[in-house]
Every structure is written in C-alpha cells, then in structure tokens.
Symmetry: C4
Subunit: 277 residues, 4 copies
Amino acid sequence: MKINSLKERTYEILESLKEDDRTSRLFELFIVFLIFLNVLLLILESIETFAEQHLIFLALFSVFSLFVFSIEYLLRLWSCTVNPSYKNPVFGRLKWALTPYALIDLIVILPFYLLVFFGVDLTGLVILRVFRLFKIIRYSESINTIIRVVKAEKDTLITTYFVLFIVLIVAATMMYQFENAAQPEVFSNIPDAMWWGVITLTTVGYGDIYPVTIGGRFFGAIIALIGIGIFALPAGILASGFSRHQEEFDKKKDEDEVYLCPHCKKEIMKNDLWHKK
Amino acid sequence: MKINSLKERTYEILESLKEDDRTSRLFELFIVFLIFLNVLLLILESIETFAEQHLIFLALFSVFSLFVFSIEYLLRLWSCTVNPSYKNPVFGRLKWALTPYALIDLIVILPFYLLVFFGVDLTGLVILRVFRLFKIIRYSESINTIIRVVKAEKDTLITTYFVLFIVLIVAATMMYQFENAAQPEVFSNIPDAMWWGVITLTTVGYGDIYPVTIGGRFFGAIIALIGIGIFALPAGILASGFSRHQEEFDKKKDEDEVYLCPHCKKEIMKNDLWHKK
Amino acid sequence: MKINSLKERTYEILESLKEDDRTSRLFELFIVFLIFLNVLLLILESIETFAEQHLIFLALFSVFSLFVFSIEYLLRLWSCTVNPSYKNPVFGRLKWALTPYALIDLIVILPFYLLVFFGVDLTGLVILRVFRLFKIIRYSESINTIIRVVKAEKDTLITTYFVLFIVLIVAATMMYQFENAAQPEVFSNIPDAMWWGVITLTTVGYGDIYPVTIGGRFFGAIIALIGIGIFALPAGILASGFSRHQEEFDKKKDEDEVYLCPHCKKEIMKNDLWHKK
Amino acid sequence: MKINSLKERTYEILESLKEDDRTSRLFELFIVFLIFLNVLLLILESIETFAEQHLIFLALFSVFSLFVFSIEYLLRLWSCTVNPSYKNPVFGRLKWALTPYALIDLIVILPFYLLVFFGVDLTGLVILRVFRLFKIIRYSESINTIIRVVKAEKDTLITTYFVLFIVLIVAATMMYQFENAAQPEVFSNIPDAMWWGVITLTTVGYGDIYPVTIGGRFFGAIIALIGIGIFALPAGILASGFSRHQEEFDKKKDEDEVYLCPHCKKEIMKNDLWHKK
C-alpha cells in the first residue's frame, strides 16, 4: 500500500495499520497513557483532601485531556474517508461517527462542549467521565476477546440468566413470607428479599440481611445448596467458552506461522504448503 | 395436517404447532406478558405504600388475569381431545388435567374459585401466587434444557449431595462441641451449627454465626478448606453436563440441516444423505 | 456358590452377596434406617427442651440401638471366617476386626461397654456418637466414589494444598504487619491473621476480621484477586476428576452389557465379541 | 559423571544430583525441617505470651538457623563452580549469586549480618523473615508446577485480569455515585468503593461496606451477577491449564518408562524403541 497524501498517512497512524510503525505506536501509547491518567485522577479526585489541594492542576489536566481527545476525534473524522467504507465526505463520515468506537470518543468530549457553548453542566454525571475508560477498548485485544466469547456463548448465557431470574423471584417471594413477620424492618418487602437472594446466591453474603426464623433458615439453606449450582453455571460456561476460543486462536496462529523453503529460501505460510499427491 | 374444525384450530394455536402462525405467537406473547406483569405486581404489592395507593387497580388486574387464565385453562381442557393421547372426552380430559403443565395452570386459578364459591381464603399463601410464574415453564426452552441436564446428571448430583449431607452433619456436630460453651446463645444446638455449616460451606458467610474459640476456628478452617472442594462439585458437574448437552444439541441441529439436491432440486436432510459405496 | 450352613447364610445376608436376596435387603434397610434415626436424635437431643421432654425415650432408644449394633458386630465377627481371607478362627477374626469398616463398627459400640463394665464415661465426647454416621459408608456407593476420586487425584490435591498453605502463611504474616497497629484486638497475632486468611481466601468472609488500613486493604485486595484462583484449584481438580471417573464408569458399564447371539441365542458379553479377521 | 574431589561431592549433595544419595536426602530433609520450624516459630512468636516465655530459646534458635543457612549459602557459593555454567571462580560465582534461588538464600541471611556488622536493624520488617519460607521453593516440585502453569497461561490470565480491572473501576465509580450521599462515611471516595468492588466481585463479602440505596442495591446486584462470571475466569483458566499440564506430565512420565529388551536384556527407554519399517 502506497501512502501518497497526508490524510492517508494520518489514517495509517491512527488505525495502526502497519505493525512496525514507530509514530503509530508512540501515538497509541500516548493516548492509552492519557486515558489511564484520566481514570487515576478521577479516582484520586474523589478523595476530598486530594481534590482540594490539586484543584488547579486537576482542572488544567482535564482541559488538556479533552483538547487532545478532541484533536484525536477530529483527525479520525477527517481521515476516515480513506477507508472505502466511509468514502463519501458527508455520509461516509456520518456513518463512521455512528460506529461504537466513534460514539464512545464523542461521548468523552461532548460534555465539555455542552458546558462551554450551551451552559449544560453534566460534571455531576461521573458516568460520563468513566466513559473515558471505554476508549481503551479500541486498543485492547483482551476486551475484544471477552466480547467475542460472550457473543459466542450468548444463547447459553441468556438461558442460564433467565433460569437464575426465575429461581431468584421464587426464592425472594418465599423468603419474604418466612421472614417478614419476624424482621419487618429487614425483610420489609419482596425487593428487599430479592436483594437478599442475589447476595446469597452469588455467595457474597454481606450479613446485612439474613433469615432468623427456623423456616426461613431451612428454606435459605436449601436455596443456597441448590441455587449455587445454577448460579455457578455462567462462570463455568464463560470459562469453557474462553478456553475453546483460546484453542481456536492458537490453532489459527499456528496455521499463520511462516516457514522458509529450504530450496528457494522464500517465505511460505504453513497453510500454503502443498501436500504432494 | 389439515385443520377442519374450530377445536382443531384452537388446539393448534394453544400448542403453537405451526412455527409461523401469527395468531399463535400473539397468543403466546400475550400470556407470557400477563405472567410477567402478575409477578411484577406481586413484587411491587409487597411494598406497603405501593399496595395502598393502587389497591383498586391491583384487585381489578388480579381478577382480569384470573379470568384470562381461566379461559385459557377451559380452552385447553376443551381442545385437548384433538390430541390422540387424550381422545376420550371424559377420561382423556382427566388424563390431560393430571399432566404437570395442566396442574400448574389449575393451581394458578383454583384459589380464586375456592374463595368465591367456598369462602376458603388462601390469599395469605403467597406461594400460590408465585405459582403463576411456573406457567412460564411451558414457553421456556431454557428451563426445559436445565431440567433435562439435571435429569441426565441425576445420579452424580444425588451422590454429591449425599456426601455434602454427611460432611455437613459431621461438621455441625463437631463445631457445636467446640463452640457451645463459649457462645451458648449462638451455637445453642446442633441445628444452629448446621445453619453455620451450610452458610460456611456454600461460602456465603453472613457473619451472624462463626467460631471464636481456638479449637473451633482451627476446625472451621479445615472444614472450609476441605469442604469447599466437595461443595463445588455440584456446580462443576452441572456446568460440564450443560456444555455436553449443548454440544449434542448443536450436533443434532447440524444433522437436521436441510440441503437441496443439485440434480433434482429437492430438499434432503443431512442425515438422509447416502454414502456411495 | 452353595450355602450349606447357618454361618454361610448369615455371611451372605450381612455382606449382601446376592443382589435379589430379600432378607439381605431388609437387614440393610433396617441398619441404615437405625443409623439415620440415631443421627437425627443426636441432632434433636442438642435442643435442650427436646432433650428434657424425651429423656427416657432417648435413653431407651440409645440402649436399643447399641444392642442391635452389638448383635450386628458379633454376627459379623462370627461369620467372617466364611471369607477365605479371614479363615482362621482366631487370627482371621483379628485380621477382620482391624479392617476400617470393622473398626468403625467397634468404635460405635465400645463407649457403652466401657461405661457399663469399667465406669469410663465418654458420653461427653460427641465425636464418638457422630461415628455412628460413618457406619453408613459401608452401604454408600456415593462415598466410595468420592474416596476413589480423591485417591486418584491425590498428588495434584497435595500439590495445590501445599501451595495454598504457603500463600496462606505469607498472606497472614504480611497482613499481621499491616493491621496489628491499627486493630491490636482483632489482628492480635499471626494465628488470628491466618484465620482471616482462610476465611478470605475461601471467600466465606464472615466479617469478624478484615483490614481497615489503606495498606492492609490494598494487600488484602491483591491476595483476594490472586489467591482465589489458587484456592479454586482443588474444586476444579476434584470436579474434572469426578467427571473423568464417571466416564470410565459409564464405559465399563457399557462394556459389561450383555448381548444375545442371534445364531445360538446364548448370552455374550460385549467385551467377548470377536472381530473377524 | 565421576566425583573426584570434595567440591564435586559437596555440589552433588547440595543439588541432589543422585536420586538414591542418602547424605543428600538427609541434608535436604534437615534444611526443609529447619525452614518449617522457622516459620512455625515466626507464627508463634507473634503471640505475646509465647514470645515472652521463650525469649531466650527463640533468640538462640534464630542465631542457630542463620548460622546453618549461612554455612549452606557459603557451601553453595563455593561449590557452584562445578557447574560449567558458573565455571569462572569470580564471575561464575557472581552469576550464580544473581540467580533467583541464590538471591532468596542471601536475603534470608543478610539482615542478621547487617545488624551485627553495620547496626542496621531490620527485625521490624517481618517480610524479610517470611522470606525464609521461600527457600522451600527450591525443594518443592508443587510450586514449580504452579509457576509453570501460570507461565503457560500468562497471556490469558493477563487478559482476564485486565478486564477485571476495567469492570472494577467502572463498578466502583458508579457505586460511589449511588452511595456517597447516603453513606458519606462508608463510601467516602472511589478507592473505598474499589475496596467494596473487590470484596463483592470475589464474593468474599465481609459486610463492612455495602450499598443501602435502591439504586445502589440494583446496580450492585447487576454487578454481582455479571461480574462474578468474569471474576471466576482466572480460576477456571488455571484449573484447566493445571489439568492439561498434568496430562502432559503423565504422558511424559509414560514415555520415560524403562523396558528390558527380551533379547539382549538391556534397558530401553520407551521413547528409544524403534518401529520396524
């Protein structure tokens, strides 16, 4: 592939098209580093004393990050037309802007501009700031693997979560019956009992809510013993799906291995080797 | 299959015999929606303020649901004779009424008629209202899958639960010995210690009951370390059974695939393809 | 095998040698029922009000049970010489008396005779009464399966428990360092910290002991995240060992299937079928 | 390999080169025993009353242990030149001293000499004393197995821990938003909420920190249900990796089996058997 313009080179850097492109790797590292720094400061900012002491630094850093992320977004928006899928200057760019990655990038920078230009203050919505972390997904093979595994095991997961839901409702309704009279403040309604159900069936067991009557304890013990098997299913399904995916990936990597022909000294992909008839 | 009467058409709709029957799908969706609404309102009704505010709506909705479920039950009872298994108008219908699904449908509507005609008030038995949720089983492939897996792994599950039971009794009796003197109010008898045993071995650990003596803690630590392995068995067995079942299902689906013969253009099931000798 | 004497018939009944022997099955059922009744009463006896109300019944039942178990022991001791392994009237019986099953049977009845003949009162040692439950092992295929799986996976289990032990000691020692100053009453010494370690790494988490300092929480979080993987190993190993064992068992059962030869109408074991060369 | 000097014999004993060398086995047993005794006393020393009563014995035993470990270190340092990798008397020994095992051995004895010769008191750093436990790694096949499994599954583990980290940060930030107003003392900042996240997602659930608002409980329930599947991945990955490793090991052991040729009566490794063409 020949690079014959600034736009194509920009696209190449932003999308890490070449594996040994130093500029591309440096850019990626810088963005990932900036994302992690943003998340770290989001965490530290919640500590009151820290926030008070570094008020100005935090504000400046925030503006700086949003400036960089804005530049990145504009560059991506400008150069995306290099990709034949988003060829059209207007509709192609719009199509690109609606891809999940582009939307995440937009949501990260949007609140700042809403505040500056329209006075809409969304700083209270921390969720919008956590969104900066989602920018990392683009660069993380790990998360993409997990997403693929979850997609592949979707049917089974939906099945088990549906059954979990049924078990949870039955357990909560029954437990509410057993415990409401004895602990009207704790098991005051079925949603409270559902909180008990989730915390028990996931084996977290905070200890803020638990049965005290004989009937409740007996029923709770049965639910714990039976239900845990069912609640362990999603974990088991994901783990086996993950291991199967890993095997496929290893196999594919193995097939992609490159050999050198001992005669002509040229590279051969393992898959391209011919079996002599 | 030809449909030549209203009864046969009704049966066809109720049992979803044809996959692309819109009336059938709409009916199914309506019943499933009604079931979920019933369960949702059962949960919300337990919140005192909600129950007081919507007293009349809840009563009306309950009567409406029971009316629909009654109609559904009567239609099923009427049309079941279409099925050759329940051919006889009296005994066939009786045989149908004793199938698990029919019994669930009956239990859902019965309390209302007991109250209206005999004055037997069962509204206190919330379990009877949770039964409405069980109507969903008929429509849920997921639950049927789980039931089949549990049936297939029945022997192994009984084995492990029996061993769990032995471990539990030994652990509880010993712990009662260790802790009764130090905490007579908490470990006041062996059933209390069995509650400790279940909550510890399932790793829920509410924190309402735990050993405080050196001997009790030492023994409790050993039970936790050893017992957890055994208690994790049912989960492992179900997960592997589930994954095996899934494979079989996938294989079967694969075998059921339909091909078109390139010569005669007729449909062929993969299983029916002949290997040329 | 011909039965030509009372002793051989007794041995046959006690050891359930014939599968369709009704006397044998009734005897087995009676003993298993008596064992469970003993355990049930042991549990109920710990409830003070129950023990006081049924004082005489409990004492009579205890004497009756020990009487039956004594008769059973003597019959087994008398008839064991039928088995060629224990042929010798004196040394053969002694050899039998030292087998695990015979020792369990002896420990069950011994305390009673120690009390009656030597005045040694061991009624305080509840562990001796729980031993009655161990008599069930003889009749339980389940427990024998678990024991075989544990034996087969012995090496791997020892490996993981050893590593667990190392992780536990390192975690406890470090946590003691972090928390001793802040909570001298809770983390007062390393054994206390080891109790924290076991309860955390098994994910029970009672909440009676947990870190409160920043360092302790940070270290505790790391231990929880890393250690849980290691602590989940025994469960995973047992589960996979169990499933493998099951497969072998199924295969063996399959191989033991009996066929009828279509020519001579005689029984053939699947394993004995010959492949024609 | 011939042993023709004291140094070579020393090296042979220290490194257990011969399997049936009694001196070597005795030396190994003595060192392992001394390590465990050191760890046991480290644990007991933290119990104040024990430490006060056995002050002199503990001090003497500590000096004795360090003396033995020092001798061991010096012998290893002296004899390591027998190994061709560390042949050079100066640089070879330096190279050896920088191997992980040698560094552990050094860290164990160093604090004592720092105190005696330079007056640097590191007795407060218990971590340095726990290091004595790490000396055991050299002798433990178990730990080496675990290390190898972790290395083999490194990529997958990094993947999952990275995803866990993302889930944890998102969960903590959101929960901080939900609960900060209702429980400003408990969820006082995001690091506190991260502690909640770890303790919940690992299902430990101490009960020192948990949501109380409706929004927080709803979000917490979702995180518990979804997140636990992801958090169970490392355990599943390690368990399957372990079982695969075990199989490979069993296979290798099988291949290493030794046969006797029926003709020449000489030993043959299974792997060396030739297939006749």
